[in-house]
Amino acid sequence: MATSVRATGGGSAPPAAQAPGSGAGPDSPGPRPSGRSGWRSTLYRLDLKAVPYVFIAPFFLTFAAFGLFPLIYTGWLSLHRVELGGSAQWKGTENYSSLATSEFFWNALANTFTIGVISTVPQLLMALGLAHLLNYKLRGRGFFRVAILAPYATSIAAATLVFAQLFNTDYGLINTVLGWAGFDPIAWESSKWPAQIAISTIVTWRWTGYNALIYLAAMQAVPQDLYEAAALDGATRWRQFLSVTIPSIRPTILFTIIVSTIGASQLFGEPMLFGGSVGISGGSGNQFQTLSLLMYEKGWVTGALGQASAIAWVMLLLLLLIGGLQTLVSRSNRNRNRNRAGRIRTKAGS
């Protein structure tokens, strides 16, 4: 760590900072003043002490104003009955208990969970496979990398509007292709599971390439000699992938799981725009209404800010819960592996 030179009270103060624009060339350090002046060393001390805080201030001020204060205020709102512009009435935990008995809430929670699973799991598995393929020596490597990243450059709105046409029940290309294969047309918007699969497809399309590149970078950091040792032990390519690659990039996999989970729990634009005129209610029968959509509906359609705030806080608590679970799982995995490694070592030693 950098230990910087400090001006100590009785010791020799470092030379004072040069005033900007005092004629020194841009890259030449200024001439060192030989005299020691009190205010200059004070200034210098102040510079050392205060400047780090000045540099981090913009972030923390922005966070305080647009992150922390609203977060706490949302918590306060969630304990009240309030409409935009109206005054708040204290309700205690009533908003939360009415959520617990609201079928709309449980429906949205279940939808958020199922869409989250069917968009995250295939996405990360495909990304792993793609990264593995990109890890070979390839011609046209740059093209493949940029091509699979192109969906990431596409916005939620643009991607969803295009996919909504492709998934259209009557004239969409996807039903046309299914028709060629001899299937009946699927009602992608109005039935529950097809709609959730269609929305998950949009999410998967946008993020698979992005995650694949993250995995690829992690795979390239795996030491070559691990593979050589495995090959000497007679491990097949597939075995090497399972026993060398996957364990080596486990932290990165965990990172992508966390980020994708956070993203999936906040799903809003895709279901809303996919649903068209009934998007905010998540389809005609709320069959793909997510927690975010329900919160928006409560806050901006119904005008019940207290209830909307309660939903937002439930989302945060859910994320903390999932984060805690993931930490526990990864820790127990790590311990298991450590124990296993220990056992193998003792075997080798005996």
Partner: protein, 297 residues
């Protein structure tokens, strides 16, 4: 949560750049090319079809079987979308918002990242942990009070309502800190100090030159994010007032100006093409930046 994020440093590559060839010297077989070709096709087809749909009449787009080849109406649709639906104004707004957010995020992230990487101060570790922790807070938790605030200030439909909350991002601070810890030797900062340079001079003559490549990459990532941001702009701006492209598109999708699907998809095309051009030119660097930011987390 933060601890799990920190464990990843063990696998961090020394540089964020993807190496041109992987550590493994296996050559790809034909099957690899077939599968990667399929993946590329799946990735690019919806974008291609967006172009196809934008070049037909609205009647043709909603007629089965859907068109697969470009048609004659691209320029008619473009001029309609540009003039009747105000996609032009939305493009200008988006450029302003994404530009301002990018400039301020890169500047403030570099300053904060430098402080966290190379300046000792009380509470540094705890504050860095706090920065990382804020990344996990969903935007849903702040939009209700924020909406009340901008309503009180009369900022609904004003661009500052979407610029101000995004002036600096936790991800950017962390990204720059990770880069500077590796790229900026402590000795360099100390040497400048001993030469009597004050902090602003050090920033200008030492930190910025070293951080320039990471600043460029962060700038690209932030620009893409700001350009495509949806949730808060959708709440703070209205499609008929002063929208960004994404908000204007949401209005189009809801049938605000037109139910002509060809025009709607032309709007989608207008919002996507500028970023695709950026990717086509700078794709390599963006790929490097994404992997640097993520693997080093």
């Amino acid at each position: 949560m933060t601890r799990t994020l920190d464990t990843t440093t063990s696998t961090a590559p020394r540089t964020g750049r993807l190496r041109p060839s992987a550590g493994r010297q296996h050559h790809a077989g034909p099957l690899t090319y077939v599968l990667l070709g399929l993946a590329a096709l799946m990735s690019l087809f919806p974008l291609y079809w967006n172009l196809v749909a934008a070049s037909h009449s609205g009647e043709r787009v909603v007629e089965a079987p859907a068109p697969l080849l470009p048609g004659p109406r691209l320029f008619d649709n473009l001029s309609f979308a540009w003039n009747q639906v105000d996609m032009g104004e939305a493009l200008v707004n988006t450029t302003i918002v994404a530009g301002l957010v990018t400039l301020s995020t890169v500047l403030f992230s570099t300053l904060a990242g430098f402080a966290f990487a190379r300046l000792p101060f009380k509470g540094r570790g705890a504050m860095l942990a706090l920065v990382v922790a804020t990344m996990t807070i969903p935007p849903q938790l702040s939009v209700i009070p924020l909406y009340q605030i901008i309503t009180d200030l009369g900022w609904v439909d004003q661009l500052q309502a979407v610029v101000l909350p995004s002036l600096v991002a936790a991800f950017g601070v962390f990204f720059m800190r990770q880069f500077l810890i590796e790229a900026l030797p402590a000795e360099l900062v100390e040497a400048a100090r001993i030469d009597g340079a004050h902090s602003l001079r050090i920033i200008w003559h030492v930190v910025f030159p070293v951080a320039r490549p990471a600043m460029a990459v962060l700038g690209m990532l932030v620009f893409v994010q700001a350009w495509n941001d949806f949730f808060w702009p959708f709440i703070a701006l209205t499609p008929d007032g002063n929208p960004t492209l994404q908000v204007a598109l949401a209005g189009l999708g809801a049938g605000n100006h037109t139910v002509d699907q060809a025009v709607v998809l032309t709007g989608a095309l207008i919002s996507t093409v500028p970023l695709l051009l950026v990717f086509a030119v700078l794709g390599k660097h963006i790929v490097g930046g994404i992997t640097a930011g993520a693997v080093k987390n």
